[in-house]
């Protein structure tokens, strides 16, 4: 099946089985293995990427559903020597250990910061009529779709707060 994907600012033409998920398209077909497969069921968040600016689980998205979409993966956020502020903050705060959930955490947090800026409320939001303010509670709530078994959670929250705050 022919699909045209705009990934990290480049056009990729994919000719693949209709069953190929966006995650496997990235990992198996396009050589973008920064996006991780932790569960393939939308339960861990390791495969989080941005599709048209919003965070999605790439494992629950078929590649052919993304025809024409703009996709940003961890490779598109920054690279060694030119890291995004959030990527740098993850290093400074030790927001990872094994590193396997890390691309998903960072992609998720990148979109989450936009969601807060856009005023989207969450379960942790105290006042729905006031502007949403980033806080550790908001971040913990909004990042709960991204599991980290090494459990660097407090460090991840610190990293996001540094950039968001």
């Amino acid at each position: 099946m022919q699909t045209e994907l705009f990934i990290n600012g480049r056009v990729h033409r994919l000719d693949a089985d209709a069953r190929v998920t966006l995650l496997d398209a990235l990992r198996h077909h396009l050589g973008l293995t920064g996006t991780k497969k932790g569960c393939d069921h939308g339960q861990c968040g390791a495969c989080t990427v941005l599709v048209d600016g919003r965070r999605v689980n790439a494992c629950l998205t078929l590649a052919c559903m993304c025809d024409g979409a703009e996709i940003t993966t961890i490779e598109g956020l920054g690279e060694p020597g030119a890291l995004s502020p959030l990527q740098s903050a993850f290093i400074a705060h030790d927001g990872f250990q094994c590193g396997y959930c890390t691309p998903g955490q960072i992609c998720s947090a990148t979109a989450m910061m936009d969601e807060i800026a856009a005023g989207w409320p969450s379960h942790a939001t105290e006042d729905l009529n006031a502007p949403v303010r980033p806080s550790p509670e908001e971040i913990r709530e909004r990042m709960s779709g991204n599991l980290c078994r090494c459990a660097c959670y407090p460090n991840i929250v610190d990293a996001i707060m540094e950039v968001q705050g």
Binding site: Q43, Q87, D94, G99, C101, L147, A151, Y153, P154
Partner: protein, 725 residues
């Protein structure tokens, strides 16, 4: 040049503290950090050798019996399908850590529900996944026990210990406790599922794999395949977490290698998350009875700890639940019992801190019950029972910092603000505090590393792994400290069996073992530099790429004059580990809120105070402890496998059914390291840290729940239905 050291005596020279570079112990950022945050660190399943095929394992849907027929026609007729493999060398479950040979082979015999019995290989992953469902398998089924409570357990003599008369001690005690706790099957759940990509070149196979201990894994894989270890090369430069689940080789690596040989193309096999639950080692469920007798002063007179765990009939491993009990507290009358139920659930093996993770947790909960019965503060009760020497053997402790950790933790946490159960209510929430001791045995394992010093800097090479533990960074810091180099001038290369064989990552021994091998290699290079400077090693000062002796300072570049200095370090455990009881120590404190309406438990804050010898990197060591403490939250509140009572099969075999702590479950956590040195651990005086954080952490949470709402949960995890006050 090889510098070999067997640790036969405690080493209190404290050489590292007199080094000049000043980088060891510092919170240096992870060496591989930039690669991990940008997605460029490559894990097991991320190579794409040309022509690679994809294999998917097929699992048994019976508990015990034989596969008598596999109809492959429908599968083979599907597009892209290349082969269906049922090779007798395929293994049924993973090897135990450090095993010298491969695990049990023969996929036609089924030992547990979910066992791999075949591999379907296709050109595309989707094709293989679909074809795996098209096999028609017929079995000859045998009845098999799956419930540990329904079989007569084995009682191995060597694992029973008794001293004095515990029953009399209980009878005569001013206060006593006799309680039984149960813990469910727990899983490691590393975020990276097991995966392997195998590629043959003639009679040599290279396998990119998700493994923790390459030196022994290589032997296991060679044995399983029927080839020599020199024909196997393993690569694991980055491993997405282990927690014990990747200690030994597992079915996917063997199957990938067999398929790659048969087809003549590279083959990738990755476990799905559900297969990860089915196939990889589980931490055995346990039933633990704890008996405690104490005088009116709270001093223990009797300690009993009896454990029932399970495993498959022939497995050599059984969760050493009571491992720390004999040496943590003193009592004249003691009984340790260990029973093993032989059942057909999946294979049990090491998961982070096998033994203490659940044993200390339960024992510390029972001690809380005794403190309550005796009306003595739980911290004080423990302080009154810390032995001077190891009970039973009379050996000294290498170091025993339990008391220091308890006192420091109580002070920092504000333990004196703790009130009686149900006395602190904030809205719908009862608030309570709990604590527990942390203790874990300390081990050293044989390890080798090569260090190369050139004009441009140093390079460390060893087949050690970094599974998130910070190995890259601490080995860099050790070499930088010893050789007087800025950390940026030290490269570290890990995870390749072409490098000298290391201890591997497991049992909290990785950092001290592999670190000491690097230390020794650097010691050898220092001696050669000292010779050129006309001084002894002790007189030599190496800093920022310069060597100094008295008023003579020379650039390393000048001293080397183009020469390359190479040394291998080789450490082995020796008599020192017999002369003293070595352990790491700590204390956990937790504050929880319990909803009086729903029984929901929220952990509000946690503190861990730890003493584990020299800390090699403050930042990565802290993260290791955070991870352990959070495993404790999961163990206490949410984690537990449900086995189907008919088949033993793991029912909640995904992350929606097996609940790991998420961001929202983990509060503010504080970690404090006490300054500590343990010469019995070797010249670095450093001990393990990866597991101590989990040992007892769940006990602190359980005890806090009791302190909050007066409910004692003895059947883990403490889900709302059990907590409902």
């Amino acid at each position: 040049m090889t510098r070999h050291r067997k640790i036969d005596h405690p080493d209190n020279d404290n050489r590292l503290d007199s080094m000049a570079q000043g980088v060891l112990g510092k919170p240096v950022d992870r060496l591989e950090g930039p690669l991990k945050v940008s997605g460029l660190a490559t894990y097991a399943s991320e190579a794409r050798p040309s022509g690679m095929a994809h294999g998917v394992l097929v699992r048994a849907t019976i508990t015990k019996g034989r596969v008598v027929g596999i109809d492959r026609q429908a599968a083979l007729a599907l597009p892209g399908v290349m082969t269906v493999i049922t090779d007798p060398r395929m293994v049924r479950y993973p090897a135990q850590g450090m095993a010298g040979k491969g695990p049990k082979a023969g996929p036609d015999v089924v030992d547990y529900h979910g066992q791999p019995i075949a591999l379907v290989v296709a050109e595309g992953f989707e094709q293989a996944r679909h074809a795996a469902k098209a096999l028609r398998i017929t079995y000859e089924e045998e009845p098999a026990p799956t419930d540990p409570d329904t079989v007569t357990p084995e009682v191995p003599d060597a694992k029973q210990k008794a001293q004095g008369d515990l029953d009399a001690a209980i009878r005569d005690a001013a206060f006593s406790v006799d309680c039984t706790y149960t813990t469910p099957t727990l899983m490691a759940v590393a975020m990276e599922p097991h995966a392997a990509i195998a590629e043959w070149d003639g009679d040599r196979v290279t396998v990119r794999a998700a493994l923790q201990m390459l030196a022994s894994d290589r032997k296991q894989l060679a044995d399983a395949l029927g080839v020599g270890p020199e024909q196997v090369r393993l690569l694991a430069p980055y491993v997405g977490g282990g927690f014990g689940s990747k200690l030994g080789i597992a079915p996917e690596a063997v199957a990938a290698a067999i398929a790659a040989k048969e087809l003549g193309v590279p083959v990738s096999v990755a476990l799905t998350r559900m297969q990860e639950f089915d196939i990889t080692h589980r931490r055995s469920e346990s039933r633990q009875r704890v008996l405690l007798a104490a005088g009116a002063d709270g001093v223990l007179t009797g300690i009993g700890h009896e454990a029932l765990v399970s495993n498959l009939p022939d497995s050599p491993f059984s969760e050493p639940v009571t491992q720390a009990t004999p040496f943590t507290y003193q009592a004249a009358h003691r009984r340790i019992a260990h029973r093993i139920a032989r059942v057909h659930r999946s294979c049990a093996g090491s998961v982070r801190a096998p033994g203490e993770a659940i044993g200390v947790t339960v024992f510390e909960a029972a001690l809380d019950e005794l403190a309550e019965a005796a009306g003595i503060d739980p911290v004080e009760l423990r302080l009154r029972n810390i032995p001077d020497r190891e009970p039973g053997t009379g050996r000294p402790y290498s170091v025993n910092r339990l008391g220091d950790c308890l006192r420091e933790g109580a002070h920092r946490f504000g333990w004196n603000q703790r009130r009686a159960p149900k006395e602190r209510l904030e809205g719908e929430w009862f608030i309570g505090m709990g604590m527990a001791a942390a203790v874990r045995v300390n081990m050293l394992i044989e390890s080798r590393a090569r260090v190369t010093l050139t004009e441009d800097g140093a390079k460390v090479e060893t087949d050690m792994t970094d599974i998130g533990t910070g190995t890259y960074t601490i080995l860099r810091q050790i070499a930088a400290e010893m050789l007087g180099l800025p950390v940026d001038l030290v490269e570290v290369h890990l995870g390749d069996t072409d490098f000298p064989p290391a201890a591997g990552s497991g049992g909290s021994f990785g950092a001290a073992s592999s670190g000491t091998s690097v230390y020794l290699a650097c010691e050898d290079i220092r001696a050669r530099i000292a010779e050129r400077m006309g001084c002894t090693d002790a007189e030599l000062r190496l800093q920022d790429g310069r060597a100094s002796f008295r008023n003579d300072t020379r650039e390393l570049r000048e001293l080397l004059a183009g020469e390359v200095l190479v040394a291998e370090g080789h450490v082995e455990p020796g008599d020192a580990e017999k002369q003293a009881r070595q352990a790491t120590w700590g204390a956990h404190f937790a504050e929880v809120a319990v909803s009086r309406h729903t029984g929901e438990v929220r952990v509000r804050r946690m503190l861990g105070v730890f003493a584990c010898g020299r800390i090699l990197n403050e930042k990565t060591a802290r993260s290791q402890c955070l991870g352990g403490m959070t495993f404790g939250i999961g163990m206490a509140l949410t984690e537990g496998v449900e086995h189907d009572p008919r088949t033993g099969h793991i029912v909640n075999r995904d992350l929606a059914g097996y609940h790991l702590p998420s961001h929202a479950d983990v509060p503010e956590q504080d970690v404090v390291f006490l300054p500590d040195r343990d010469g019995f651990a070797g010249p670095m005086q450093a001990k393990g840290i990866g597991e101590l954080g989990i040992c007892g952490a769940g006990g602190a949470v359980l005890n806090a729940i009791y302190n909050a709402c007066g409910v004692r949960v003895r059947d883990l995890p403490a889900t709302p239905d059990k907590v409902m006050p």
